[in-house]
């Protein structure tokens, strides 16, 4: 068992820090259905943490609990060493937790650049009138924020579509724009809900590369959900495995792969 403040070193030599997000005994019910049953796990600074499981395991529910879209009936969420009081999703976002959605939630009518700029909204502080006439602090702020966005846009290789309305983009690019918007807020924790869903092999490889690069370049802590085992195992440092709302495995990809419960959940097991 790892200590909360002490880090560890990954197989490829990256230093992982202390606990950023600590989920303690989370239980989430919808009416009589228990979507998440008493699950605890943590996410450490700088690591890529995956939550995997078969369909309906409760992965997305877990992500929604972290990002404040769902409120668990039981359990505590600790973020950066403090117990998080009940919060609205926008407050969670303001704390520095950015996310993407399984079904892509972008501002379709706006350009790619405008979409990415919305990621900076919480960082803008200039007074209203100054923003409207684009002077003084507002101008400096806009320039600074724009620079950060351009950096992210360059990084994700979407320069050529900066001015295109998002509605016109193909699916794969939309996913990338969504990632760009989340990154633009310079999140302390980045949540990715099935970043590879619906993609072909090539797009998946691209996305995997971007996720690894983001983590490497910006040191962003990433938690992602995926049900493609192969991709996850290559990508992540540690993996939580869920099945029917319960945690059935937690550890490095190798540990998880060797876990009998996980094998049963994924391949099925005969009950005789």
């Amino acid at each position: 068992m790892l200590d909360a403040t002490e880090g560890y070193t990954t197989a490829d030599g990256r230093k992982i820090g202390g606990v950023v997000m600590d989920m303690r005994n989370i239980t989430l019910r919808f009416g009589g259905v228990e979507a998440i049953k008493d699950i605890s796990f943590d996410i450490r600074e700088g690591e890529i943490r995956a939550i995997i499981g078969p369909n309906g395991a409760g992965k997305s529910s877990m992500l929604n609990v972290i990002s404040g879209f769902y409120v668990p009936q039981e359990g505590e969420v600790w973020f950066r060493g403090e117990k998080r009081p009940q919060m609205k999703p926008y407050q969670v976002a303001q704390q520095g937790i950015a996310r993407t959605f399984q079904n892509i939630a972008l501002f379709e009518g706006m350009s790619v650049l405008d979409n990415v700029m919305t990621g900076r909204l919480t960082q803008m502080k200039a007074p209203l009138w100054a923003q409207a006439i684009w002077k003084g602090k507002a101008e400096r702020e806009e320039v600074e924020n724009r620079e950060i966005c351009e950096k992210v846009i360059d990084f994700l290789e979407i320069q050529s579509i900066r001015k295109t309305p998002v509605a016109r983009l193909p699916y794969g690019l939309k996913k990338r724009v969504e990632l760009a918007r989340a990154l633009a807020s310079e999140p302390k924790l980045l949540l990715l809900d099935e970043p590879m869903a619906g993609m072909n092999v090539e797009e998946k490889e691209d996305m995997s590369r971007f996720i690894l690069d983001v983590n490497d370049e910006f040191g962003t802590t990433i938690a992602l959900i995926e049900h493609d085992m192969g991709v996850v195992m290559d990508l992540s440092d540690r993996v939580v495995v869920m099945d029917y709302g319960k945690k059935i495995g937690d550890g490095t990809p190798d540990e998880v792969r060797a876990n009998q419960d996980v094998i049963d959940a994924y391949l099925g097991v005969s009950h005789d």
Binding site: P89, Y90, F101, A105, E108, T118
Partner: protein, 336 residues
């Protein structure tokens, strides 16, 4: 120059001015519709309520005086002071912000994720409630509103056109002011929605609620803000209409004239509301001039007047057939 053309030009100019007033009301609709997808039937009543409140504050009227007198047997009507127009406008704006907050808090907070038709019904309810509330609060009599805007014929234009054509145009000063104020209002609104953080957040909320939440935007705050801005626009419209034809309860019906304007301009476009308003204003005045009273083309068509009552709606109908999204509305695309 033939007389008909000169008269026609005067009619055209007056139509533009009338269109500006339509546009002002339509603007309020567009703002709320864009940000929350709610078609706010109460926008016209909001203009009425704003005008009533403004007059009430300026005249130092005691709110709910009828109610108070009836219950306590007193005879209070006026505080006995007069508030300067500018200060009264500020106070009225405060009232409109409180109203925006109350509307969000008491009604739409409980209707999140409901069907558009249910939200629409809620605004109808709101419209009737506010009409009654305004009545109880300030009384039902027609009130004169004078915030110091100049009224009457503009002599400069009259003389200039007389020198040019030998016929002086009648252009009302108030209409000129209304035009100037409307232009200013649109510039401010566009600057606000395009360049400010709150404006960007407003557009974001209009586009996708979930995504807006995930980048840290409070939907509640944005909605209160949008209703406040719509309240402000209603106040401006209320001042213009109120000054022109007195503050009376038929003011709430001008909202109906805004409907064809919106169909022309599109429900989601601020410039569309302006252009739509102008087209309706000019269109109905010119149509009345040419065919309503038969003054064009030697009077071959003479409908005998009163075309202004229906022209706008027929025009809107034509638009619905050929361009349902309006001139500037977002194109309706269905992916198959």
């Amino acid at each position: 120059m033939p007389d008909t053309l000169i008269f026609g030009m005067e009619v055209f100019l007056n139509g533009l001015m009338a269109g500006v007033l339509y546009a002002l009301v339509a603007l309020g609709f567009v703002l709320i519709y864009k940000a929350s997808g709610i078609f706010n039937y109460a926008q016209g009543v909001m203009a009425l309520f704003a005008a009533l409140t403004l007059v009430g504050i300026m005249e130092g009227q005691v709110p709910f005086s009828h109610l108070i007198n009836a219950i306590f047997g007193t005879e209070v009507h006026h505080f006995g002071w007069h508030v300067p127009a500018l200060l009264a406008i500020l106070f009225t704006m405060v009232v409109m912000v409180v109203l925006a907050w109350a509307v969000q808090r008491l009604i739409f907070r409980h209707l999140v994720n409901q069907e558009p038709i249910i939200l629409f019904m809620a605004t109808i309810g709101l419209a009737y409630f506010m009409e009654g509330f305004g009545d109880i609060m300030w009384g039902a009599d027609i009130k004169k509103l004078d915030v110091g805007l100049p009224q009457g014929i503009n002599l400069a234009i009259d003389e200039a056109t007389f020198g040019l054509f030998g016929y002086g145009f009648f252009i009302d000063n108030l209409d000129l002011w209304a035009t100037g104020i409307a232009v200013l209002l649109v510039i401010v609104l566009v600057a606000f929605s395009q360049y400010t953080k709150q404006g960007r957040a407003m557009r974001a909320v209009a586009d996708d609620h979930q995504a807006a939440l995930s980048v840290g935007i409070s939907l509640n705050f944005i909605w209160i803000m949008v209703w406040s801005v719509a309240g402000f626009v209603a106040l401006v419209a209320g001042i213009m209409w109120g000054t022109k034809s007195g503050v009376q309860f038929s003011l709430s019906l001008i909202a109906l004239k805004a409907l064809p304007v919106l169909m022309l301009g599109g429900f989601t476009s601020i410039p569309g509301a302006i252009v739509g308003g102008l087209i309706i204003g000019v269109g109905e005045k010119l149509f009345e001039f040419c065919f309503g009273s038969g003054q064009c083309f030697g009077g071959i068509i003479n409908l005998g007047g009163a075309t202004e009552n229906w022209f706008a709606y027929v025009l809107a109908l034509v638009f619905l057939v050929f361009r349902p999204q309006g001139l500037f509305g977002e194109k309706i695309i269905e992916r198959v």
